[in-house]
Amino acid sequence: MLKPTAVQEQFLQMLNQNQGIVRKVCHLYSRNERDHEDLYQEIIIQLWKSFSSFRGEAKFSTWMYRIALNTAISDIRKQSRKVELSFPEFLPREEADAVDAAKEEQIKQMYSAIARLSEVEKAIVMLYLEDKSYDEMEEILGISNGALRVKMNRIKDKLRTMTKEEAYGT
């Protein structure tokens, strides 16, 4: 292996500081481990290709969210070939280990419901869970603040209905 260049080292450092962003996008937009790894690799390649153009005008995390979500959402061909599953084939291990069985079941239901949302809704949910403000969400997604609020309310209702359906097996 060649010695990493200074730029590569800087990139690696920034990537590792924000690793969670990429991993979470991959969790939400993949159906299995293989998809997850493929998408992770694709996002890293896109981040690296764009790294030289990062001017620091936006926050690094905002820049990273944009690239990760653009890569995941644009990979439509791959998504359309996939079999539509009602339940994600994996649950993030680190999360599953940390909670008891009953809670894990609830989390699984929630993940399952999130997995059934549209690509756009998934992105909104993710940013919401990341505690991003609506201004930041607008900066990443390009959807107006007002529209995001309404969409978020709709998504919450939708998830509530879906998790209830899952819990009662309807």
Binding site: L2, P4, Q8, E9, L12, L15, Q19, G20, K24, D38, Q41, E42, I44, I45, Q46, K49, S50, W63, R66, I67, L69, N70, T71, I73, S74, I76, R77, K78, Q79, S80, E94, E95, A98, Q106, I107, Q109, M110, S118, E119, V120, A123, Y128, L129, E130, I140, L141, G142, I143, S144, G146, A147, R149, V150, K151, M152, N153, I155, D157, L159, R160
Partner: protein
């Protein structure tokens, strides 16, 4: 479970995420992008290599034959080749600007859709008009220039009728070619464009608030 309750668990997972090592990163960066756009760019490059090899080889062969008919065939191929070069430059420019991964998601998708639609139109119309062009050029080369123009002299006044029949024949061939091209382009990009449009429509819609609890 409510979405808000998932927030804390979601945040905790950050700490558990393992770092990427320099070796892993190096390995990933050596791999090629598998995105549809990266694949389209690579395909275009290989298409150029194949077309250039075939055309240069064939044109050189016809030129070295050094017969009048062959020279015109070489010229015909050169005209079609020049059109391909124009198509290549146009398609490359479109593919170069087809995505902006660092832009807002909505504007990136919008750029992708516009560029893809332009690409489809280019493919469709060029593919369709290539048929009459090739037929007319073949007519010119085949009937007028081969055999030192002997055949054209034999036709005399009938040339105009032959020409009309040929043009009609070219048009008849062009119409089904348009539909064949349309079907093929749709097969290649139809689902992608449809899905892009669907995502963009969802992003562009301004929903009417019906929920009373708007205190997010």
């Amino acid at each position: 479970m409510e979405l808000d309750q998932l927030k804390s668990i979601w945040k905790e997972s950050d700490a558990a995420v393992s770092n990427t090592s320099a070796e892993e990163l190096d390995k990933m960066l050596r791999m090629q992008s598998q995105s549809p756009i990266a694949k389209m760019k690579r395909n275009l490059f290989w298409e150029l290599v194949v077309v250039a090899t075939i055309y240069i080889g064939t044109i050189s062969f016809y030129l070295f034959e050094n017969k009048p008919g062959m020279l015109y065939l070489a010229l015909m191929l050169f005209v079609i080749g020049a059109m391909y070069v124009w198509y290549y430059i146009k398609k490359r420019a479109l593919l170069k600007n087809i995505e902006c991964v660092t832009c807002e998601v909505r504007s990136n998708l919008s750029t992708q859709l516009v560029s893809l639609e332009k690409l489809i139109r280019l493919y469709l119309w060029l593919g369709t008009f290539l048929i009459p062009l090739v037929l007319i050029l073949s007519f010119v080369v085949g009937l007028i220039f081969t055999d030192n123009g002997h055949f054209i002299k034999e036709l005399g006044d009938k040339l105009i009728y032959v020409l009309i029949v040929w043009v009609i024949f070219s048009l008849i061939c062009t119409v089904p070619m348009y539909f064949v091209n349309k079907w093929y382009v749709n097969l290649l990009y139809g689902r992608h464009v449809k899905k892009l449009r669907q995502i963009l429509n969802e992003m562009n819609e301004t929903p009417v608030q019906t929920n009373k609890n708007n205190n997010l």
